[in-house]
Symmetry: C2
Subunit: 450 residues, 2 copies
C-alpha cells in the first residue's frame, strides 16, 4: 500500500467563507447549534476523515455585524459530538495563556475518556490584546513569554497525564483495595510559570495523552511544534512555500532527536467544489459578491496594525508596514497576508476577496477530480502528510468532499476505505505514550512515546 | 394542587456509601464510565426528578486505596449526559477559587445551549490546602477571601451572561447584517479580584443564566446563598436542625429583598431501600461491614485537623477540638461532624459508620413507604422544599427510589407525574432572568429576575 494521506475537517459554523451564512441554504444560527455540528461530524465520519477540528479564542471580536459570532466552548462541543459518533477524532483549540494546566489537562483527559480515545488538543498561545482583557490583564504577555509558558504548560500536562500509571486501578473487591497508591503519584512540578502538586484527579485516559496539535508558524511556533506536536495545521499559499515549510519543520523535528514521521503536517485548503469547473467558479463568485468589503477591511486593518482609512480599496498595501518582529501576536498570519499581497501585487479589494475565502489558506475551486489532483500534487511533492479541509460552505461543501473527492482519493490508493483502529492516534498512525515519562522527568517526549 | 416537592439525584460512582463499590452488583470502574452515568440519568428522568448533580473538587485526595477515586470533569460529564436525555436538569459543581470567570461562565452557558436549557452550577469556593497546591499556591486563600472572590465571580458571570441581549442576533441575510452591535456590549468589569472586559463570546443561552446552586452552610456560605442561590443543598441530621436552617436561610433571603420562594432548600438524604424493613437494614449492615475503618479514620482525622492516633476507635472524639472559627476550609462540614458525634455520644467507630453511609447527611433505611414518609414529614414540617437524594448504592438505589418511592410521592399529590416544562428553571418553578441586569449594574439579582 502506498503512503496514506490524512484528512482533518476544520469546521466553522456555516463554512470558512465569511459570507457563507448569507447563502439561501445556510442556517445562520449554526454557530450555536449542536445538531449542526453533529451532522457535520457524521458526514466527516462517513468520509473516513481522521478527525474534525474546532478553532477557538477566549474573546469575542467586536464586530458581530459581519458574520456569525460566538461559539460553544470546544471541549463541550467535542463531547456533544462524541455521543453520536464512534470513530472520528475530535480536536479542539485551547489556550495555554488563559487556562490553568490542572483544569485543562483534566478536561482533555475527560474528553478522551468519554470518546474512548478520540481527543486531540490544538495548543495555542492566543494572539492579541483583546483576549488578555478578559483575564485580568491590560495586554497580552509578549510573544516569547507566551511560548515559554506554553512549553511549561505542556510539560505539566504530560506529567499530570502520567501521574496515574495504567495499572493503578486494582478494583479488588475482595481485599477492599481499590487503587495502588504507589502507582498514583504527585508530580511536584515547580517551574517558572507553574507550581502544580498533582496527581491528576482522573485515571489515565485511553490514549494516554490527547493528540498534540500545533498551528502557529512563527519561529517560536515552529520550535514548539518540532518539540511537542504530533500534527501541525498550517496555511501555505504555494507549493514551493509548503515544501519549504514541510522540509524545515521535519528537519527541526529530527534535529531534536524525534522521528520526523511522528509529526504530521497538514496544510489548509479551502475547496469550492462543483460538478463542473464552471459551477465551482460560479459558487465562488456568488460567495465573493456577498462579502461586505467595509467589514473585511476593518479586520485587515486590525491585523496589520493600521487604520482602515490607510487601506484604500483600489490600492496595494502601504509600503511602510511593520516587520514581523514588531508584531506581538499572530506573527505568522501577519507575514502570510503581507507576503501574499506583495507577491501577487493585490489591491486591498482583491486581497480581501482572497482572505474572505479562507483567511489566508489556499483556496481551490474545481471539480472533485481537480480537487483530488490539487491534493495529490502537494502530497506527492513532499509538501504535506495530509490536509486540513476547510469547506467554504457547510454542510454542503463537506458533503461534496466526503462523497465525491474522498472516493477518488480512495481509488488512487491514497486514503483509507475503512477505519483500521478506534482512537485518534490509531488514525494518524501515532503510538500511545507509555506513561513512563513521569517516572523520569529528564526523558524527552520522544523517548517516552517511543 | 398542593405544594410540590423537588427531587435532585446526587450521583457519585457506585453510590454514596463508601463501601458500595465492593458489592457484587457494583461496577468498580463506574467513576470514569460515561455509560454508567448515562444510565443513571435516564433512570432519574424516568422518575421525573428535577435534576441530577455531580460534586467536584480540582484535587485528588491522596488515598486511592479506599474507594473509587478520580472523576470526569463535570461540564464534560453533563454534556455527555445531555445527549441521551431530554428533560432532566444537569447540575455540577465548579470552583470560583480555581477558575477564571470568563472561561467558566462560557462553559456553563455552552452546556445550557447544548442541553436546550438544562444547566445548573453549584458554586463552591473549594475547601482545603490540597487543591491550592494544584494552582500555584502554597495554601488556600482564607475562608472570607474565598467567599468575597466567589461573590465577585458571580457578579462577573451574570454580567457576561447578560452581555448579549436576547435579541442581539438578527441573521439578516438580505442586508448582510448578522448581529446588532449595540446589543452585544463589553462589561468593563473592574473589581478587587477580576478585571474582565467582555462581552462573552457566546450568544445568550436558553435559560439566560444556569440555575445557581450553593451548598456551603457556614455563615459566609449562607450569606452567599441568601444573596445569589436559587437552590441550596444542605446536610441536616435532625428535623429540628433542618427546620432551623430552613427558617434562617429563608429569612436571610427575604431580608435581602428577595422572594424566599425563589430559593429552594434541599437537604440530603441517603436512603437504603428494601422490600421490607429487615431487608433494608440487612443491606445497610452489609455495606457497613465492608468499610475499612483505618481508611475512614484517616479522612476523619484530616477533617478534624488531628492525627489518626488521636482517635482511638472505641472512644468518643477528644474534648479539645478546635472551634469552627479556626477552620479555614469546609467549616460547616466540620461543625456537622463534631455536633453529630457529641450529640449522640458516638465512638469514633460508630461515627465512622454514620459518616461512611452519607458523609454527614441524613441516612434512612426502610421500605419505600417508610422513605416516602420520612420525606413527607420534613416537607410538611417546613424543613425542606425538596430533597437531595443520595443513593447508597448506584444504580440499584436510584432504581428503587425512582420506581418505588416516586410513585408513592405522586399518589400523595406531592410530586409531578410528568414534566410540565423543558428547562431546569421550569422544573424548579424559577423564572428566566430577563437580562436587563447588565444594563443597570446597580440592580440586584432579584430585581433582574423578577
Amino acid at each position: 500500500m502506498s503512503k496514506q494521506l490524512h484528512l482533518n475537517a476544520f469546521l466553522m459554523s456555516t463554512g470558512h467563507h465569511e459570507a457563507s451564512w448569507r447563502l439561501p441554504e445556510s442556517n445562520p444560527l449554526a454557530n450555536t447549534d449542536v445538531e449542526h455540528y453533529r451532522e457535520l461530524a457524521r458526514i466527516a465520519e462517513r468520509g473516513k476523515f481522521d478527525s474534525v477540528f474546532f478553532a477557538d479564542s477566549p474573546v469575542l471580536f467586536s464586530d458581530v455585524g459581519r458574520r456569525p459570532a460566538g461559539s460553544l466552548e470546544p471541549t463541550v462541543l467535542l463531547t456533544a459530538i462524541a455521543a453520536v459518533t464512534s470513530r472520528i477524532g475530535l480536536i479542539a483549540t485551547a489556550s495555554t495563556t488563559y487556562n490553568e494546566p490542572f483544569n485543562l489537562a483534566r478536561r482533555f483527559a475527560s474528553v478522551d475518556h468519554v470518546s474512548a480515545g478520540r481527543a486531540g488538543w490544538n495548543v495555542v498561545t492566543t494572539a492579541g490584546p483583546e483576549a488578555a482583557k478578559n483575564f485580568n490583564l491590560a495586554d497580552q504577555p509578549a510573544h516569547a513569554e507566551r511560548y515559554e509558558r506554553a512549553a511549561e504548560f505542556l510539560e505539566v500536562s504530560f506529567k499530570l497525564w502520567d501521574s496515574w500509571q495504567d495499572d493503578a486501578t486494582l478494583a479488588d473487591k475482595e481485599s477492599g483495595v481499590w487503587g495502588e497508591n504507589a502507582h498514583v503519584r504527585p508530580i511536584e512540578h515547580v517551574g517558572r510559570h507553574f507550581q502544580v502538586r498533582g496527581p491528576l484527579n482522573l485515571p489515565r485516559s485511553p490514549q494516554g495523552y490527547p493528540l498534540i496539535v500545533q498551528a502557529g508558524s512563527s519561529e517560536d511556533g515552529k520550535g514548539l511544534a518540532a518539540r511537542y506536536a504530533e500534527a501541525v495545521f498550517t496555511a501555505q499559499q504555494t507549493l514551493a512555500d509548503a515544501q519549504a515549510f514541510y522540509s524545515d519543520l521535519k528537519a527541526r523535528t529530527a534535529a531534536l532527536g524525534r522521528n520526523p514521521d511522528g509529526l504530521k503536517i497538514l496544510p489548509g485548503i479551502v475547496p469550492v467544489i462543483g460538478a463542473t469547473e464552471a459551477e465551482a467558479l460560479a459558487l465562488e463568485r456568488e460567495l465573493d459578491e456577498l462579502i461586505k468589503p467595509e467589514y473585511a477591511r476593518e479586520q485587515l486593518a486590525r491585523t496589520l496594525r493600521v487604520k482602515p482609512e490607510d487601506l484604500p480599496f483600489d490600492r496595494q498595501l502601504p509600503a511602510d508596514l511593520p516587520d514581523e518582529d514588531e508584531i506581538e501576536g499572530a506573527k505568522s498570519r501577519y507575514t502570510l497576508i503581507v507576503t501574499l499581497a506583495r507577491r501577487e501585487q493585490l489591491t486591498v479589494r482583491e486581497l480581501i476577496g482572497r482572505l474572505g475565502g479562507g483567511r489566508g489558506h489556499r483556496t481551490f475551486s474545481g471539480t472533485p477530480e481537480q480537487v483530488a489532483d490539487a491534493i495529490q500534487e502537494w502530497f506527492d511533492a513532499g509538501a504535506a502528510d495530509g490536509f486540513n479541509i476547510m469547506p467554504a460552505v457547510l454542510p454542503s461543501g463537506l458533503v461534496a468532499f466526503a462523497d465525491h473527492v474522498v472516493p477518488l482519493l480512495q481509488q488512487r490508493g491514497l486514503f483509507r476505505t475503512e477505519y483500521t483502529g478506534t482512537t485518534l492516534r490509531d488514525h494518524y498512525g501515532l503510538p500511545r505514550p507509555s506513561g513512563r515519562r513521569e517516572q523520569d522527568p529528564s526523558k524527552s517526549l520522544q523517548e517516552a512515546t517511543a
